[in-house]
């Protein structure tokens, strides 16, 4: 029997990979590589030439060196839970899965830090920190599965980032392999590190600058108490107004989430969280800390909500009840999957005061595109996740869903926001980025990529659209000033 490797491995790439990681950690049979064809945004698919699962930095260096010599693109991959196609393979390239590198290398409760391999799951960090009274704060909704390496590359957020910050605010150091095969460490356990502060550039860089091999995170004292208030509103506007009222008080709630009626109804059918399905919108407001702190804040939150038009509210009295109320919000995406064959999740962010106008606009778009949309958002930071429901089997529905999504993102930019708050650009929002930045600004992005990855082998064609693409798609922000001729190369 012919080994498929012989047929497709003209350059000996697979053989070279097998030599580095061993035969069981190299996948090339399309039956096996198909599982890696997309991340959680399954509309964008590609079967990769080969998937490699290294275990350790040395193996990664060897893989990178081979790819560098042969100019083969590498797409790094964690758990594949990304929502923007950032881990979609490149047909002629290598998918580098970091799933095997899942060890917690150190957890120091006295320094309140953990040193992790990139494949450690987000939730596993807090689980390991639990006995020490500590936790890792960023909690994206995929936290059971998503990995810290992926979190770093997407600057993942979650429901608690209003109070505790994003991945950026909770990572102290990142170590990785550049496309030159060199090791680079950025940040550190010292509060200041010399040189330019490149850490913010690496965090959220979607695998385009380096392959993350180690992450040092800071751990925070775990709050001993938490309570959530669920408040119902008769209109989206009143609900958005209540959000503004909470933020303008001196409170920073641990979580502040909003769901519209389409979302609460879908969720209630699915998990029976006890949501008020007659309300036009509901708000979940969480307080955490010590018992007195929580009681103090919850009393204040209740008062603000009632003063600002909440028609009824429920406060969780037990931890079980709190979990039940949150289970609805946390299951919003699967609930969408139950009411329609497929859903397309957007991630635009607008200033909080623009949430109601954006929702009104989305309601109009629903009619225009003849598709339903349910809305859940991280209201505390204006990050919206409209879920556009569609059926990919019906001719033209996916195209309509995509156009619907783009229209939402254009509106987000118009309202002073951004096309992606936490899911990343990936392949999905490349065209939207043409609108958000000028040619000169995108030139800077490309030039920065070139500094880290001069051969352009790390996740190329993701994250930042080429100048040509923006011209071809006719979607361009007008320059504030006429562009100057520069010596920067375009690619």
């Amino acid at each position: 029997m012919n080994d498929p490797a012989d047929m497709i491995d003209a350059e000996g790439l697979i053989e070279a990979m097998v030599e580095i990681v061993g035969p069981e950690w190299v996948l090339y049979d399309p039956e096996e590589t198909r599982a890696y064809a997309s991340d959680a945004l399954t509309a964008y698919r590609e079967i990769p030439r080969v998937v490699v699962l290294p275990n350790g930095e040395e193996e990664i260096v060897a893989i990178v060196n081979i790819c560098q010599q042969r100019q083969i693109p590498i797409v790094p991959r964690g758990a594949g839970t990304g929502l923007s196609g950032g881990a979609r393979p490149i047909r002629e390239g290598v998918v580098l899965s970091l799933a095997r590198m899942n060890r917690i290398l150190a957890l120091d409760p006295e320094a309140a830090i953990a040193i992790l391999e990139p494949g450690v799951r987000n939730l596993a960090i807090s689980e390991a920190a639990f006995p020490h009274g500590l936790f890792y704060a960023p909690d994206p909704s995929s936290q059971i599965a998503c990995t810290i390496g992926g979190n770093v590359n997407e600057n993942a957020g979650g429901v608690h980032c209003l109070k505790y910050g994003l991945t950026l605010h909770n990572v102290l150091q990142v170590r990785g392999i550049l496309s030159s095969g060199e090791v680079f460490e950025c940040g550190g356990q010292t509060p200041d590190s010399p040189g330019l502060d490149l850490l913010p550039l690496l965090i959220g860089s979607e695998g385009m600058l380096m392959i993350v091999t180690e992450v040092t995170v800071r751990l925070l004292p775990r709050p001993t108490h938490a309570k959530v208030v669920m408040a119902s509103f008769d209109s989206i506007e009143t609900c958005a107004h209540a959000v503004a009222a909470i933020i303008s008080s001196s409170l920073i709630p641990a979580g502040l989430e909003m769901m519209d009626q389409a979302a609460t109804r879908a969720v209630e059918d699915y998990v029976h969280a006890g949501y008020d399905c007659e309300a036009a919108a509901i708000l979940l407001v969480e307080s955490d800390g010590s018992k007195t702190e929580v009681d103090e804040e919850i009393a204040e939150i209740k008062e603000i909500l009632l003063l600002n038009g909440s028609r009824s509210l429920v406060v969780s009295e037990t931890e079980e009840e709190r979990q039940r109320i949150w289970s609805g919000r946390k299951n919003a995406f699967p609930a969408a999957g139950r009411v329609a064959p497929e859903y397309y999740c957007m991630d635009g962010t607008v200033p909080r005061r623009q949430m109601a106008p954006l929702l009104a606009h989305i309601a109009q778009l629903e009619k225009h595109y003849r598709l339903r949309c349910m809305n859940v958002f991280h209201a505390g930071d204006g990050n919206m996740h409209p879920l556009i429901l569609f059926d990919g089997k019906i001719m033209g529905e996916w195209a309509r869903a995509e156009a619907f999504g783009n229209a939402i993102l254009e509106k987000c930019i118009e309202l002073g926001g951004t096309v992606t708050g936490e899911h990343g650009v990936g392949v999905e929002k490349l065209d939207s980025l043409c609108l958000q930045f000028t040619d000169a600004e995108r030139e800077v992005f490309h030039a920065l990529k070139k500094v880290f990855d001069p051969l352009r082998i790390l996740n190329p064609d993701k994250g930042i659209p080429s100048l040509r693409r923006c011209v071809e798609h006719g979607r361009k922000r007008v320059d504030a000033q006429k562009r100057l001729p520069t010596n920067l190369e375009h690619f």
Binding site: S193, L196, L201, D381
Partner: protein, 361 residues
């Protein structure tokens, strides 16, 4: 203001075309850390608030705005800059504060200045006006360029305006003091890191023994609760509010007696940025320890070997707080990865300033 931006652009393009350099300066309050011989490009007249939306928790402000003015504006709405910036003299400008990236006493609780940068508008070394980031807290479109400017000491370009995340001021603050040995104080922090106490700032002053001050900041009940819990571990006393304010202010304004320059300026003031858990340093004389152990100030003479031995393999952030501070900081002297780091830093600098117009800082 547009006229000023045109002037800035013209001067940058002139310098670029003629192979000249420019040194960006606001009030010059930080120039003792980065003296420059280049012609000065002054931002001091480019001032004022562009947008302030307290309920959106951000303010966009021009680089030349005096820092105290910005703080007064925020204060009128019960908000503040949570990172408690380190300032000198009259306080300097907002642009200088961002470019220096120096945090004050609240650093360990709040994170560094760059964590609060949401967006930035700059003129790069080619005179191009560029905007990165925005006004919203969550934003992952494109690389996070705006935060690169924190601590860049003016080398990447001229900051025109910056959008900062602002927060409500803590509703109450209480400072506790206790006489304690240095070693015991540093060990106490190791335990305190896993306790849910609202520890906003700390200061140990002394040598092997001295005084530890702890600032609690939160709602009144939470502060009281933490006070009671800490009292069970350490015989702390409450410090009078005015005295406490003076103490923390002496740190954020760099006017504490132990930080003042000696008359001849012969003995350098060392700034040790270390992992907070590092043991007491084997050096003689008075120390100020901030950031729960992460920042230590000491005046004295040290040779390179003594320094290496002292800093437990973390020499990178340890340097005299003097005229070479900015350049040493940027060059990353003493780190273990000089080659790769140096190449990347140079590359990034060239992206923004290919003709080294701002190279002298």
């Amino acid at each position: 203001m547009d006229g000023l931006v045109r002037d800035f652009t013209d001067r940058i393009r002139e310098a670029e075309a003629g192979g000249g350099t420019l040194g960006i300066q606001g009030h010059g309050s930080r120039s003792f850390l980065c003296p420059s011989t280049a012609p000065i490009l002054s931002t001091r007249h480019y001032q004022g608030v562009v947008t302030y939306e307290p309920e959106e928790l951000f303010i966009t402000v021009r680089a030349g705005t005096p820092l105290p003015e910005l703080e007064d504006i925020l204060d009128s709405k019960g908000q503040y800059l949570a990172f408690e910036p380190l300032r000198f003299g009259a306080g300097g400008t907002v642009g200088g504060m961002v470019a220096a990236g120096l945090s004050g006493p609240r650093r360990m609780r709040s994170g560094p200045i760059r964590d609060y940068i949401l967006g930035i508008r700059i003129l790069d070394g080619l005179g191009r006006e560029l905007r990165f980031g925005g006004t919203v807290i969550k934003n992952v479109a494109g690389y996070d360029v705006s935060r690169l400017f924190g601590g860049s000491w003016g080398r990447l370009g001229l900051i025109l305006d910056v959008t900062l995340k602002v927060l409500p001021k803590p509703r109450s603050s209480l400072t506790l003091v206790v006489d304690i040995e240095q070693e015991k104080a540093l060990n106490w922090f190791k335990r305190a890191r896993s306790q849910p106490w609202p520890l906003g700032a700390s200061l140990f002053q002394g040598y092997t023994a001295g005084q530890l001050a702890l600032r609690l900041e939160a709602g009144p009940e939470a502060v009281k609760e933490a006070f009671l819990a800490i009292s069970k571990e350490l015989p702390v006393k409450m410090m009078a509010p005015e005295e406490a304010e003076g103490l923390w202010r002496s740190l954020s304004t760099h006017r504490h007696a132990a930080l003042k320059p000696d008359k001849e300026q012969a003995v350098p003031l060392w700034r040790f940025s270390l992992p907070p858990g590092v043991e007491p340093l084997a050096i003689n004389g008075e120390l100020l320890i901030e950031w729960h152990g992460g920042l230590r100030w000491w005046r004295g003479l040290l040779d390179p070997e003594a320094l290496e031995a002292l800093t437990h393999g973390h020499p990178g952030g340890v340097m005299p707080f003097d005229a070479h501070f900015a350049s040493r900081n940027l060059s990353g002297q003493g780190t273990h990865q000089d080659k790769v780091r140096g190449r990347l830093d140079d590359g990034v600098l060239k992206v923004f300033d290919p003709f080294a117009v701002f190279s002298s800082g």
